[in-house]
């Protein structure tokens, strides 16, 4: 999923303080799962903004909405009956959702209420970790199902640097050395020889290096 973290409250207050009528929109997908921008977080943030504006001697009206999927035009359309009453939109979706609102409602300012972080997985309750950088040319088939692009601090594709120590990355004892993980897994699978095949210089065009990306599926058009 796409992970996100709510922005500091003061940053959000600074965004919305010029506005009296706010449409606060959550998303029922990834940001709900990572507890950053679902129905619950919309309600909590709404209360926090009400309290802050009362303290500042201002009145703010907040409409709360949580869409099924904010990155999907079909669901964003559901905001139509509410948008006219709003001076601005505060979105708790990932950057994709924020931009979908900006695209649909051209005369309405939209602010992000979360920082979109990465594509990751939940390691244990309350902890999410990066797993994929969307390079567009998946290597997992040759690296034992563990990604060095997303999970090596230097995105080294041919093995661990000299800073791998006791299974940890040189940048922090909290970061696993992904090449230790890959090696352990190749060994467990009896595929040690795979390590010695050199991965040549990567073609980054399939990733962000080729400019903004698009998937076009004519069979679905």
């Amino acid at each position: 999923m796409i992970t996100a973290e709510r922005k500091p409250i003061q940053e959000i207050i600074n965004f919305v303080s010029p506005y009296k009528n706010l449409l606060l929109v959550g998303c029922n997908e990834c940001v709900t799962v990572c507890s950053a921008g679902g129905r619950k977080e919309v309600a909590l943030l709404s209360s926090a903004l009400q309290v802050a504006s009362m303290k500042a001697g201002r009145i703010i009206h907040i409409q709360e909405m949580t869409l099924e999927r904010q990155c999907d035009p079909e669901y964003v359309e559901q905001l139509v009956p509410y948008i006219d009453q709003a001076d601005a939109v505060l979105s708790l979706a990932c950057g994709c959702g924020v931009q979908e609102i900006a695209r649909r409602f051209k005369d309405k300012m939209v602010f992000p209420g979360v920082n979109t972080k990465f594509m990751g997985a939940s390691e244990r309750p309350g902890v999410w970790a990066e797993r994929c950088q969307g390079c567009g040319d998946c290597l997992l088939g040759v690296t034992g199902g563990i990604c060095p692009i997303a999970r090596c601090s230097k995105r080294l594709q041919n093995g661990p640097c000299g800073g791998s120590s006791k299974g940890k990355c040189e940048i922090s004892p909290d970061v696993d050395c992904v090449w230790q993980l890959i090696w352990d897994r190749l060994k467990a699978l009896g595929l040690e020889e795979r390590y010695e095949a050199i991965l040549p210089a990567k073609d980054w065009r399939s990733g962000r290096g080729g400019g903004p990306r698009k998937i076009v599926r004519e069979d679905l058009m």
Binding site: Q157, N158, P160, G162, G163, S164, I171, S172, P200, A201
Partner: protein, 307 residues
């Protein structure tokens, strides 16, 4: 001979080669570069020039290499893939070769986390092994990584690093094999303090006969004090300093520790000279270049042979 490199000639003549390093200054100070390099004249065959080492901004490696080449010495251009993409790396190699610089070292480089610009984007368009492949393709096929022909391709003698002390240990010989396969001609190792572990690694290297096509230089860094030894032991990732060595220095009064550090370096060289597959020594005397001549003399590596 693949190149005009003095290091290649030294190895192929069967001599133990000696290199040292010069870290460029953190300012536009060409005289600092010349001063450091001058101390090494006659005592080493070539001088490594570090590339923004420890991820701190310094005078560019290429510029310092040019200054050193103009002194009639032989620089080894260190290149990390952290700061520049494949376009920049290849164009610097053309520039280096235009100034008669023909020996280089391919590295991934320390992560920006450790340096003075931890907020910088880390590039890593290539990793160190892919850089080795790129430089070999430029030399042997006369082509850029992108496939186009090069007019007067740079003929570089290609170095790489190896750290026998990093984990996982069992992967370290395989990783060296990968660097050899990619096209490395010579290797400079991480500083060696745990000699037993280094020798165990070299056994693995020789068992796979990697030493027959790869010239391996053992990394030596003299310890200035017990404090430095402890710092290296505890704080520097991928460094293996045995307790016995720390204690040997700590047992002496502070003003005698530096001398002992030099003695340890000399003893290390003497022991490693006899290890199969060791083709030379890379003496990294960090901000202590003035002691390199003494180490080279005492280790019986002076005068340097002419080739």
């Amino acid at each position: 001979m693949k190149t005009e490199s003095v290091l290649e000639r030294m190895f192929k003549a069967g001599h133990l080669a000696v290199t040292s390093e010069c870290g460029p200054p953190r300012g536009a100070l060409p005289d600092k570069v010349r001063e450091k390099a001058e101390m090494l004249r006659g005592y080493v065959d070539a001088v490594n020039v570090t590339d923004n080492q420890t991820a701190m901004v310094r005078m560019s490696s290429l510029t310092a290499c040019i200054l050193i080449r103009q002194m009639g010495l032989h620089p080894i251009l260190q290149m990390v893939t952290r700061d520049r993409n494949r376009l920049a790396l290849q164009s610097d190699l053309l520039g280096a070769y235009a100034f008669d610089i023909n020996t280089m070292l391919c590295l991934s480089g320390d992560h920006p986390h450790f340096g003075d610009h931890p907020m910088a984007a880390n590039v890593y368009d290539l990793d160190s092994i892919q850089l080795i492949q790129t430089v070999r393709t430029m030399r042997d096929q006369g082509k850029f990584q992108g496939g186009d022909e090069i007019a007067n391709p740079p003929k570089m003698f290609i170095g790489a690093a190896a750290n026998p002390f990093a984990d996982p240990f069992e992967l370290r010989v395989r990783r060296l094999a990968k660097k050899a396969d990619a096209g490395a001609d010579f290797i400079q190792t991480q500083c060696i303090y745990n000699l037993d572990k280094f020798e165990k690694w070299m056994e693995g290297v020789c068992k796979r006969r990697l030493h027959e096509n790869l010239f391996i230089m053992a990394g030596i860094t003299p310890l200035k004090s017990a404090g430095m030894a402890r710092y290296m032991q505890k704080k520097v990732p991928g460094m293996d300093v045995p307790d016995a060595l720390v204690q040997r220095l700590a047992a002496l009064p502070k003003d005698k520790q530096a001398e002992e550090g030099i003695t340890i370096a000399v003893e290390t060289i003497e022991r490693l000279k006899t290890v199969e597959g060791v083709h030379g020594f890379h003496i990294m005397a960090i901000e202590w270049e003035q002691r390199v001549p003494e180490i080279v003399r005492r280790a019986g590596l002076y005068p340097r042979p002419t080739v």
